[in-house]
Each structure stands twice: as structure tokens, then as C-alpha cells.
């Protein structure tokens, strides 16, 4: 009985945490960030094995906190192998207490969707794209600094 109560407590605690772990195909992720709801979607493509990606994650987390009251939504699209998501990525997110929305991309053939993000993207990560009402306003292959991010976001909030 005691064990059961402990398990229930853990489940309850888990529910209070904002992070949910979703996996989906690119087209479904795009539907989310193309939503015409006046929200600025800041979408970052990353993986746990990508050092520059990990180094810039705090910038996205800081923006997630800073712009909580604004119509700004951070989506971190995870590109680790499908077999690594439960094993590696979920513990990574939990350990670092990442609160921005993380979605794992399940498509295995990246040639089918990279150009749908931006035709200028070669496929190297990190890469970041900003979209509002279905219109892309920023794309960058490579690291984005916190200052750079804030500047673009602030411009949109004016």
C-alpha cells in the first residue's frame, strides 16, 4: 500500500511539471509553429550530441522565462535518433530542467523536410527559425546568441 501511495505521489509530481514529451513528424510540428495566433514561434533544431546546440540552449531557456507574459513560444525540435529519445533525451531534459516545449522529430529521411524549414539550410545544426502567423521572419544556420535572440524578439513585440 505504501508503495502504491509513493507511486501516486510520483505520478502527481510528474504531472505538475510543465514539460511533456511529444514525438511527431515534421509536418505536424510545422502545423504547430505555423499557427495563425499572433504568437511569435522561436523554433530551434538541436540534438544532445551537438555541442554548439547544448551551449546555446540556456539562451532559449532564458527567453522562455523572460517572455512568458508575451505572445512568444519557444519550440526546441530534437533531432536525436528515434531510439535515443527515451534513453538519452528525456533524462537530459529532466536533468537540465528544461521548461521550453521540446518536440522530438520522428522523420528518418531529413532530405524530405529540411527545405520546408528554409531552402538556405544545409542541414547542419544548430539552426533557428522565427515564424509569426505562418510567415518566416528569421532563419539562421549556426549559433544564435542571447542578445541576438532578444533583439529579434523585441523587434516583434514593438
Amino acid at each position: 500500500m505504501k508503495n502504491l501511495i509513493i507511486i501516486f505521489i510520483f505520478i502527481f509530481m510528474g504531472k505538475t511539471h510543465a514539460q511533456t514529451f511529444e514525438s511527431m513528424k515534421f509536418d505536424d510540428i510545422k502545423l504547430q509553429y505555423d499557427e495563425k495566433d499572433d504568437t511569435l514561434y522561436v523554433v530551434n533544431f538541436w540534438a544532445t550530441w551537438c555541442k554548439p546546440c547544448i551551449e546555446e540552449l540556456p539562451s532559449f531557456e532564458n527567453c522562455h522565462q523572460k517572455y512568458k507574459e508575451n505572445k512568444v513560444k519557444i519550440i526546441l525540435v530534437n533531432l536525436d535518433f528515434n531510439s535515443k529519445f527515451d534513453l538519452l533525451v528525456i533524462p537530459f531534459i529532466q536533468k537540465r530542467k528544461i521548461e521550453s516545449k521540446v518536440i522530438h522529430l520522428t522523420d528518418t529521411d531529413s532530405n524530405t523536410w529540411i527545405n520546408k524549414v528554409d531552402s538556405a539550410w544545409s542541414g547542419a545544426i544548430p539552426a533557428t527559425v522565427l515564424i509569426k502567423n505562418g510567415n518566416k521572419t528569421f532563419f539562421k544556420e549556426g549559433t544564435v546568441t542571447q542578445t541576438e535572440l532578444e533583439e529579434i524578439i523585441n523587434n516583434h513585440l514593438k
Binding site: 533544431f45 554548439p52 529521411d109 531529413s110 542541414g123
Partner: protein, 199 residues
């Protein structure tokens, strides 16, 4: 004022040509890069070759590691048909110590690479090709005294599981070139590790 505009245009053009690298149909320039055996390698050394499978790759990147045995297979399959693999590591060893020349030697000998594994110390060749990630493949065909770029992109369409890859881009492209055709799919994209440029 006119002068300033001209200079600005010239600078912009220079930047854009540098960033773009080779396109399909361009002639790739030769190089002389240090191999893991201590010798320099150039395209010109391969008198019998009909072309080359140039792969920008490295030690540390999980996507390069995932493709390692497939790159070895490509060399086994196509070097005897005239298209040897030439692997080039463009990464800054200061940024990624795993990709140092010493570690390249270790990997090449442990895995028994049958192809040269060259270090692009100045990163000039990666820039010249327009390589941005590892792995990043360029297939060249010898046409007279030129090496024409015929394919740029990924090895196949499933990094995680080679068994599930049902589009073998490099194989298909080399086969097409061998039968004197241009590859039907000449450019593809794939997720990969950013080349670690010197700061």
C-alpha cells in the same frame, strides 16, 4: 561615392561566392592534403580514376560515425570501378580534440580504412567545396583535365539505420555516372554536425 559602392559590391560578391562553394557542373580545384600515412594526396595522383567520392567527415560526430561503415563500403564497391573515396576532416582540432591528426590516425588504423583520410588543416578546401557539415559528400567526374561536380549531399536517406535506407543517393549517382548519365537526384540535404571552423 561611386567608388565606395563598387567596393561594397565587390565585397558582397566575394562573400557570396565564398559562402556558396561548388554547384553542380562546377570544376573542382585540386588540393594537396596530408593523409594519415604522412603523405600528401591530390586528385592528380589518381591517374586511372574516373572520378571521386569526396566525403567531408570526422571522428567525433555521431552522424559521421553512423555512416563510417557505409563510407568504407562505398570505397570497396566503387574504387575498383574508378570512383575511390577520399575522406577529408575539416574540423578545427582545437575546438574538437577528438578530430586531431593523431586521433584521425588511430581511427583510420583501427577501422582499417582502405581510402585516404586527409586533414584540411587550413579549412580552405572545405570552404572551397562549400562543405558545411559532416558527413557531406561531393561526387566528381573526370572530364578531360577537369573534375566536374556531379552530386552534392547525403549518402542515403536513413542515418540511424542503414537497413532502412531505401534511397541510396551516392550509389545511385555513381551508377548513373558510370553509365554516362547525370544523376537524376543531384542534390540532397541531411542533418549533420556543423563543421567546427577556426575562431
Amino acid at each position: 561615392m561611386k567608388k565606395i559602392i563598387c567596393i561594397l559590391i565587390a565585397i558582397t560578391l566575394k562573400i557570396s561566392t565564398q559562402a556558396q562553394g561548388y554547384k553542380i557542373g562546377d570544376a573542382a580545384g585540386d588540393f594537396s592534403l596530408l593523409n594519415v600515412d604522412g603523405k600528401k594526396v591530390s586528385f592528380a595522383d589518381y591517374k586511372e580514376a574516373k572520378g571521386f567520392i569526396v566525403v567531408f567527415t570526422c571522428n567525433h560526430c555521431p552522424f559521421s560515425q553512423a555512416y563510417e561503415s557505409r563510407i568504407m563500403e562505398l570505397d570497396k564497391k566503387y574504387s575498383r570501378k574508378g570512383f575511390p573515396v577520399i575522406a577529408i576532416n575539416p574540423n578545427d582540432a582545437i575546438a574538437v580534440p577528438d578530430d586531431s591528426y593523431e586521433n584521425m590516425k588511430t581511427v583510420a588504423s583501427e577501422k582499417k580504412y582502405t581510402f585516404p583520410y586527409l586533414v584540411d588543416e587550413t579549412q580552405e578546401i572545405a570552404k572551397q567545396f562549400g562543405a558545411t557539415r559532416t558527413p557531406h559528400v561531393f561526387i566528381l567526374k573526370k572530364e578531360g583535365d577537369k573534375n566536374t561536380v556531379k552530386y552534392i549531399g547525403a549518402i542515403d536517406n536513413n542515418t540511424e539505420d542503414s537497413q532502412l535506407a531505401d534511397k541510396k543517393y551516392v550509389d545511385t549517382a555513381v551508377e548513373a555516372i558510370l553509365s554516362d548519365k547525370n544523376p537524376a537526384i543531384a542534390e540532397t540535404k541531411a542533418i549533420g554536425c556543423t563543421i567546427k571552423w577556426k575562431k
